[in-house]
């Protein structure tokens, strides 16, 4: 566990750097986390993915798989890998303030 001061808020992170409480998330926090992941600026397309993931977690309790993101036309797999280079599922989840994805697919 660690704490960080972001945009005037104290945010708690687990040992792997994922936010402990996803309801404390906002776009300013996302921007800071994105930079830590090597993404300079978050575009509307990044937020399409992030917001959809957050919506699914709020509604169903689990984040969508890469396959689901593709099937529901949220983002094609190829673009997802371009938006979050070097590990899309984990990076997108971390930036979205969600916990580390656990699935194998």
């Amino acid at each position: 566990m660690s704490q960080k001061e972001i945009a005037g808020q104290t945010i708690e992170f687990d040992d792997e750097g994922y936010m402990v409480d996803h309801t404390a998330w906002n776009r300013e926090i996302a921007a800071v986390l994105a930079q830590e992941e090597g993404i300079e600026t978050l575009t509307d397309r990044h937020f399409d993915v992030i917001e959809f993931m957050r919506k699914e977690v709020a509604e169903k309790g689990t984040a969508p798989s890469i396959r689901r993101l593709n099937k529901l036309n949220v983002v094609p797999t190829k673009e997802l890998y371009q938006l979050f280079p070097g590990g899309p599922a984990k990076k997108a989840a971390r930036i979205a303030g969600l916990k580390k994805p656990e699935g194998c697919i």
């Binding site: 396959r67 797999t77 190829k78 890998y81 590990g87 984990k90 194998c104 697919i105």
Partner: protein, 161 residues
């Protein structure tokens, strides 16, 4: 701390459904974690990237001592020899996989291709089964000799399935 895995080369040599999936899951999982991945299909594993064969992959119901009937009783090899048994077992496995969000082989290969992994066919196996380039899925990046496979695998860990 040990050095993290940066690149993998996965060889798929078997053409049964259960022989093909592990390699696909590992390649996809590698890409999900930002690990470079190449898939190399050889011998009967080629079936997974041959257009007219890909949808016909089946679970082997003979010679598999780990196979059980629904409920856990042993599945006698003699039962597995009954025509249609392989199709039944395949349908059951496919429905279980769909529940876990594991895509069918053709969709999975498309996904793996889109993730930036390389998909290759073995030259020798292509010649042996008299397949032509036209027989391959469009997601296949090329046909490689063993030497070219090792070249493409520079710096990678090689996994044989």
């Amino acid at each position: 701390m040990s050095e993290p895995v940066k690149k993998v080369s996965i060889i798929v040599s078997q053409g049964s459904l259960e022989g093909v999936y592990p390699g696909l899951i590992m390649a996809n999982g590698a890409r999900m974690d930002g690990i470079e991945a190449n898939l190399f299909f050889t011998f009967f594993g080629l079936d997974a990237i041959i257009k007219k064969r890909i949808r016909k992959l089946k679970v082997a119901t003979v010679g598999n001592p780990a196979m059980t009937l629904p409920g856990g009783l042993p599945f006698p090899t003699l039962l597995g020899m009954i025509p249609g048994m392989s199709a039944v077992a395949t349908a059951m496995m496919k429905s279980e996989m769909e529940k876990l969000d594991i895509p069918p082989v053709d969709e999975f290969l498309e996904m793996i291709h889109d993730s930036g992994a390389g998909i290759y066919a073995c030259k020798l196996a292509m010649d042996m089964f008299h397949y032509k380039e036209d027989d391959l899925l469009e997601q296949v990046d090329g046909i490689l000799t063993v030497g070219q496979f090792y070249e493409a695998s520079a710096g990678a860990q090689i996994i044989f399935t």
